[in-house]
Symmetry: C2
Amino acid sequence: MGLIVQKYGGSSVADAGCIMNVAKKIIRAYSKGNKVVVVLSAQGDTTDELIAKAMEISDRPSKRELDMLMSTGEQISIALMAMALEKLGYKAVSLIAGQAGIYTNAVHGSALIKRICADRIFKELDEGKIVIVAGFQGIDDHGDITTLGRGGSDTTAVALAAALNADHCEIYTDVDGVYTADPRIVRNARKLDEVTYDEMLELASLGARVLHNRSVELANNYRVKLVVRSSKNNHKGTLVREAGGMEKTVVKGVTYDTDIARLSVIAVRDIPGVAYKLFKLLADANINVDIILQSIGRDDTKDISFTVSRSQLSESVEVINRNLDYLGAKAVSFTRDIAKVSIVGAGMAAHPGVAATMFGALADEGINIHMISTSEIKISCLISADEVDKAVKAIHDRFNLGEAAS
Amino acid sequence: MGLIVQKYGGSSVADAGCIMNVAKKIIRAYSKGNKVVVVLSAQGDTTDELIAKAMEISDRPSKRELDMLMSTGEQISIALMAMALEKLGYKAVSLIAGQAGIYTNAVHGSALIKRICADRIFKELDEGKIVIVAGFQGIDDHGDITTLGRGGSDTTAVALAAALNADHCEIYTDVDGVYTADPRIVRNARKLDEVTYDEMLELASLGARVLHNRSVELANNYRVKLVVRSSKNNHKGTLVREAGGMEKTVVKGVTYDTDIARLSVIAVRDIPGVAYKLFKLLADANINVDIILQSIGRDDTKDISFTVSRSQLSESVEVINRNLDYLGAKAVSFTRDIAKVSIVGAGMAAHPGVAATMFGALADEGINIHMISTSEIKISCLISADEVDKAVKAIHDRFNLGEAAS
C-alpha cells in the first residue's frame, strides 16, 4: 500500500484495445490498495499527425501555437483512459496540466517544470479516484499551455512522483527494461536488473531511448525510485536507484544516438571569449549542445565543432550564420551523417584500460573516430552514421556484455 | 472601425485550404481597422470522430470525460487558425475557454455560460492581435472543461459579442442567410434580408439549423446585432435585429426539425401535480422538453405526450421507467418516426386565418397531424418523419413565400 506513479507511452495507448489493457494494469496496482496516478502520452502517431497539420499551414508555426495544438494529443489519451477505468467500474478523473498544477516557465516547446501544486491531485486521490494526468505538457504563469519537449511525459511522471512523494515511479515502455545494448542490434544483449541514476543518466542522454535524460536527472535529484518495465508483460524490469554496493562490471552497456548533427564554425579568431559568445547565442535560442571539440589554433584562427539534435540543426545554422561577423568566424559547415556510440559504467574512470579497449574494438572494424568525449562514467565516440550497428556489436562483444552464448 | 466577433463553423475550417481562406476573410475585417475576435468550431467531422473514439471504449462515457475529449477539437482549430494568420503576417493568439475567461456552470455536455472575464481578450486586442477563441467550450468553477451542447459555438460567439460590447456578431455558415424555407427542399425559397430576434428564435428553435436558439436568445437579451452570412462568398446575408417598422408579410418562413422523438406516458392518474412531477424529473436530468400534449382524462387516467431531441430519448425513457410508480403511470411509449414542421412570423396571432391555411395545406397533401403547438409567432405541427419534404413545400407554396416563378 502506497502511492505509485505509472507512465505509459504512446504505443501503449494507441487504440481502444491497448487502452483497455493498460486500464487493467492500472487497476491491478490500485486493487492492491495503492493510490495510483497515471501519466499518459499522446496515442500512437497523434503528435506526428498534429505536427503535419501545422506544417500544412505554416513551415514555421509559432511555438506557442504549436504547444496549443500538440497538447490536445495527451488530452485525448487521458479522457479515453478515464472512460476505460470508469467502464471497468473504477472511479477515475483525467487532468490536463493546468488542472494537475504542473507549472513551467514560458519556453514553449521545451519548457522546464518550475513547481507542481498537487492539491487537486491529492483531493481526487482522497476521494478514491485513479488520477490520469496528461504528460508532456505544462502551464505557464500566464495560463498558456507549454510542452516539455522530447521525452516530456517521462519528465512529467518523475516530477509528479517527486511532488507527491510517491513510493516509486513505474515507466512502462515497449521493452522489458534497460539492456547492455540495443537488442535490435546486438542479439545477445542482456537486461540489467539494476542501474544507478548516473549510469541511467548517461544511458538516457546517450540515446538508450528507454528513458529521457531529464526524467533521470529529476529522479536523481529527488531520489525517486524508478522502475522501467514493459507494458506488454509482467517481467520484472530494471530498477534505477542510488549508487552503492559492489560494482562487479565496470562497463554496464553500450548505447548510441543517431539523432545528432555536427556543426563546425570555421576559422574563428583565436582570442578569448569566442566560445562563450558562440554558446551563449545558442543557449539564448534554447539549443542544446552536446559534444564540443575545439581544434588547436592554427595561424590565428581555430575551428569549433559541436553536436546538436537534428531537429535543432537548421535553427543552429541560422543563428550562427546571422552572427558570423559578431563571432569573427568565416563560415559554418555541418553534417547529418554522424552518430554517437558510447559505453557507460560507474567506476570507469578508475580503469584506464577501458577507453583503449573501446577504441581498439572500433579500429579492428575499420571504423574511423571523428570526435571523442569522456566523463566519469562514459566514453563517447562520434562515427559515421552508417557504421553504428557494426560499432555497437563490436564494442558489446569486446567487453563481454552479452548473455552466455547459447 | 469597431469590434467585431466572427464565428466560423466546422465546415469552414475543415482543412488547411479552408483555414487559409477564412484567415483572409478575417484579415479583411481586421485591415479595415476593426478589432476582431474569432470563434471557431472543431474541424469538419472531428467531433464525430472523437465521439466514435469514446464509443469504442464505453457506450456510456461520463459527461465530464466526454467534454475533456471533445474540447480538443476546437483547440486544434484555433491553434491552426492562429498559425495561418501569423503565416500571412498578422499577429494572432488562440485562447481556449479557460484562457478566454468563459465560465459556465458544471452541467457537462450542456453547460450554461455564467460570466465572461474578458481581461485577457482585451489585453490581446490592445496589443493589436487577432484573438481566436475556441467555441463550444467553457470552464467551471473547479477548472473543469465543459461543453455548451449543440450549436454551442454560436452561443460562444454571441456571449463574447455581448461581453465585449461588440458592434456586431457575424455568424458564417454554409448558406447565404436565413431563408423562407430550406432551399434543399423548396427550390424557390427566398433569402430574408432581415428577421427579428423573436422570429429568428422560432426559426432557430424549430430547426432552421442556421443559428442555434440559445445564441439567438442571448443576442435578444443583450441586443447583439447578429449577421448570418456565407463563408463561401461575400453576399449580404441576413440581419437579425429588434422588431420595429412595418411587417408586410405575416408568415416569414417555413421550417422543420427531424431531430425529435415523441414519448407518451400512458394511463397517468388524473390528479393534480402529476405533470409537475413528470417534468421536474426530466428537468433534473437536464432533458429539454419541447411540445407537450395532455389528453383529456378518460375514466380516471390520462396520457401525457411530449417531444425531446433524439439524443435525449433513451435517457428520458429510462428516467420515466424508473419512476413509473412515483408518477402513478402504467407505461411509457415512444417513437422516433416523427418530425415537426412550423411556420414563423411576427404578428401571426393577429391573423386568425393563418393556422387554418397551414392545416389546409397539409390536409390537401393527405398529411396527418399528430400534435399541434402554437405561440405568438409560430404554429408547429408534428407529422410523420417521411412527410416532411412534402409538408414544407406545400406550406411554402400555400403562403406564396417563394421568389416570383421564373
